[in-house]
């Protein structure tokens, strides 16, 4: 008998053909849906709209800072400041070493041959390979002299000229003229310019810390450094540390508070613990409600009563989590091994004792592991909630992004958030292993 005539052959082949169809149908459906989404989300026009130059600015700003050299055209005062901020300002009359001032003339060396000169009547910008751009006030407007045709990196109107080169940016308006030079790194991350430790190298700092003479006789150099870093007016390390603390606090209180509240409720919602079906049903709907309404919405609802602050955020997480835990804990309770419970029951133990010895030892690992798991995800939620409730690292981050100014701060916060979440993740993993194996 050959295979083709085997009585099972037709059924088998039919089975394979059916499976072939199924195997194609599923990916085809997925592709179809993605196509639909492609047009529903209007992706084609998105490509047209996407601002890759924004992305480039953002990427470079993540890891760079700029120093402003500004002249107020009304008073003629020239000053330099990192990021143009008061805390980053060079003391009056002093400049970074690439800026020099003689009389009314200020020369700014942007490197690679790019030189900007502010003089009494206007300003010049020498760009290698192009020529010199010269700007003078002219009546109510500005007079621009530059090799024609004007390239597109010069943006000029009657009242404003801006020049953007790789070496730096330059703008001239009637009220002021400004030059920006970009540098890599997070400048003044440790010490602002008003600190005696600013601008010193690692070796120098180590030497000062260990055996150098006291710069400020009132305090040791190490204490001075710690103080200056902690009170850094540009990076606000103290505030940031406080914000991280607030975020973790919200997650911690919300998670464990939620778990503590959910545990007794879960007993009341478990089929094998509470015979009252209507009570169970009602509780379950309450769980569904509190967890279905996201923590963010709870935050908004609660902020009227509790006002801004970390407690409001913690309560919002607590409410959401109580629902989530209530559901999962009661499911864990329904899945317990009845044998252990029966063993305890057979000795004449009362309800509380049965719960304590017949149920709790069984579900502890599940409870602990679920609670600790959500600790990590709640740290992330707390970041988001903080942005609304006015606290924590989330607020700092969203504000930094929304004001779209200091992207290096954004980068700093993102790094901290990632580190914070990863730390909470490994901490919860470590606790999980320790507690569940050890107990």
């Amino acid at each position: 008998m050959t295979a083709a005539t085997h009585p099972l052959a037709p059924a088998l082949l039919a089975g394979f053909h059916r499976r072939k169809l199924q195997a194609i149908a599923l990916p085809a459906l997925v592709m179809l849906y993605l196509c639909y989404a492609f047009f529903a989300f209007d992706i084609p026009s998105l490509f047209a709209k996407a601002r890759l130059d924004n992305a480039a600015i953002l990427a470079s700003d993540f890891w760079s800072y700029k120093t402003h050299v500004t002249r107020d055209n009304r008073t003629g005062r020239v000053f330099a400041a990192v990021e143009g901020e008061a805390k980053g300002a060079y003391p009056a009359g002093t400049f970074p070493d690439w800026v020099s001032q003689t009389g009314a003339t200020t020369t700014i060396d942007l490197g690679t041959g790019h030189v900007v000169t502010y003089d009494a009547t206007g300003a010049r910008f020498a760009v290698p390979g192009y020529g010199t751009i010269d700007i003078r006030p002219d009546g109510a407007g500005l007079k621009l002299t530059a090799p024609e045709p004007l390239p597109d990196w010069i943006n000029a109107s009657g009242n404003r000229v801006s020049v953007t080169t790789d070496a730096g940016r330059f703008t001239y308006t009637r009220s002021k003229v400004e030059t920006f030079r970009y540098f890599a790194g997070w400048e003044l991350f440790f010490f602002t310019l008003d600190s005696p430790f600013a601008g010193k190298g690692w070796g120098e700092l180590a030497a000062l810390a260990l055996w150098g003479d006291r710069i400020d006789p009132a305090r040791s150099n190490i204490a001075g450094m710690a103080h200056d870093i902690w009170t850094n007016g540009m990076w606000h390390h103290a505030d940031v540390a406080g914000a991280i603390f607030e975020t973790v606090l919200m997650a911690f209180l919300g998670t464990f508070g939620g778990a503590i509240i959910a545990l007794p409720l879960a007993f009341a919602a478990a089929r094998n613990m509470n015979p009252l079906a209507p009570a169970r049903f009602a509780l379950r709907r309450v769980f569904d409600f509190t967890r279905g309404v996201d923590g963010l919405i709870w935050t908004i609802i609660l902020s009227r009563a509790f006002g801004p602050g970390p407690m409001t955020g913690a309560l919002a997480i607590l409410i959401t989590d109580a629902g989530a835990f209530g559901k999962s804990f009661s499911e864990a309770l329904e899945n317990i091994d009845e044998k252990q419970l029966e063993g305890i029951r057979s000795t004449g133990a009362n309800a509380l004792q049965r719960a304590r010895f017949g149920v709790i030892p069984q579900i502890t690992p599940v409870l602990l592991s679920q609670t600790l798991y959500s600790l990590e995800s709640n740290t992330r939620s707390a970041t988001v909630i903080g942005a609304i409730v006015g606290g924590g690292i989330g607020l700092l981050l969203t504000q930094a992004i929304q004001t779209q100014k200091d992207w290096e701060e954004v980068a700093y916060y993102i790094t901290l958030i990632i580190l914070m979440v990863m730390t909470m993740d490994s901490l919860s993993g470590w606790l999980r292993r320790k507690l569940i194996k050890g107990a």
Binding site: N54, A156, R160, T173, G307, P308, G390, Q399, Q402
Partner: protein, 279 residues
């Protein structure tokens, strides 16, 4: 009647952190004057402060005119008006300014018909309430007049959004002093231009609103009278006693903080009522 603490809500187009820093001296002064702990809160949007004042968890705040109107309309007795900011030129107002990209070819609001137009957020006075009211009066239903009316989320987002082409035109605020190419002397345009986010050469002004009253400083009405008085007095004297601190509180140059009454905001309140009714 005693108070145990005093909470201040601060808004503004700055980083939460910078807001804290520039108001720290102010906080310390009030703490000294009242003898109770004083805390600063920097909610992410107007609504956070509004809810705080309504709920009684914040005791004092500087508000936008529209946010004040919202509180007033929700509960007229919730807060007392105290002071407002007087500009260096003696005026107590600023402007809402509609703008577009220069290369879009739009030069007036008449050109902007059928385009995508952006406001800041519903609680913003200059970013929504006043311009929406004035434009509605002039052009009728804005949803009909423009192709789409969007909320960008804030003044900065509107400016960047228009510069990026996400929106074809929008409104933001400025004090109306100085030059357009600098982004005026203060306001959202100036900040964006100074930060290098936009080049003012790329933008054109389409329209300027009537002067909008500066937002008030309000204190919660339920506070003991002497607390209200102390805080108000301290703030009113701030420009005389501590110039630098006043600069931080006013978020820029200002002449003084002067008393203000409900009259100054009747227009805004009316506009808000109108908006509500039109929904």
């Amino acid at each position: 009647q005693e108070i145990k603490e005093f909470n201040i809500g601060i808004l503004g187009g700055e980083n939460a952190q910078d807001r804290m820093t520039s108001n720290e001296c102010y906080r310390a002064k009030i703490e000294e004057a009242l003898g109770v702990p004083v805390k600063l809160f920097t909610p992410a949007d107007y609504d956070g402060v509004i809810q705080g004042l309504l709920g009684g968890t914040l005791d004092m705040a500087w508000l936008g005119a529209s946010a004040f109107a919202k509180i007033y309309l929700t509960d007229a007795k919730a807060v007392d008006l105290a002071l407002t900011k007087q500009n260096v030129d003696g005026s107590t107002g600023y402007y809402s300014i509609a703008f577009a990209r220069k290369d879009s070819g739009i030069t007036s609001l008449d050109d902007a018909k059928g385009k995508v137009f952006a406001f800041a957020e519903p609680n913003s006075t200059s970013g929504y309430l006043v311009p929406a009211a004035e434009l509605t009066e002039k052009y009728g239903d804005l949803k009909q007049y423009f192709a789409d009316v969007k909320f960008s989320g804030g003044h900065e987002q509107t400016i960047v959004g228009v510069a990026n082409g996400d929106f074809e035109a929008g409104v933001s605020w400025a004090d109306g002093l100085g030059n357009w190419e600098d982004g005026y002397t203060s306001g959202a345009f100036r900040k964006a231009a100074d930060a290098g986010l936009v080049d003012m050469n790329d933008l054109v002004e389409l329209w300027k609103s009537k002067p909008i009253p500066e937002g008030p400083m309000v204190v919660r009405a339920a506070l003991p009278q002497d607390v209200k008085d102390k805080v108000t007095q301290l703030t009113a004297d701030l420009h005389e006693t501590d110039k630098d601190c006043a600069y931080g509180v006013a978020a820029g140059e200002a002449k003084d903080f002067i008393p203000v009454t409900l009259d100054a905001y009747q227009g805004v309140i009316a506009a808000r009522k109108l908006q509500e009714a039109s929904q």
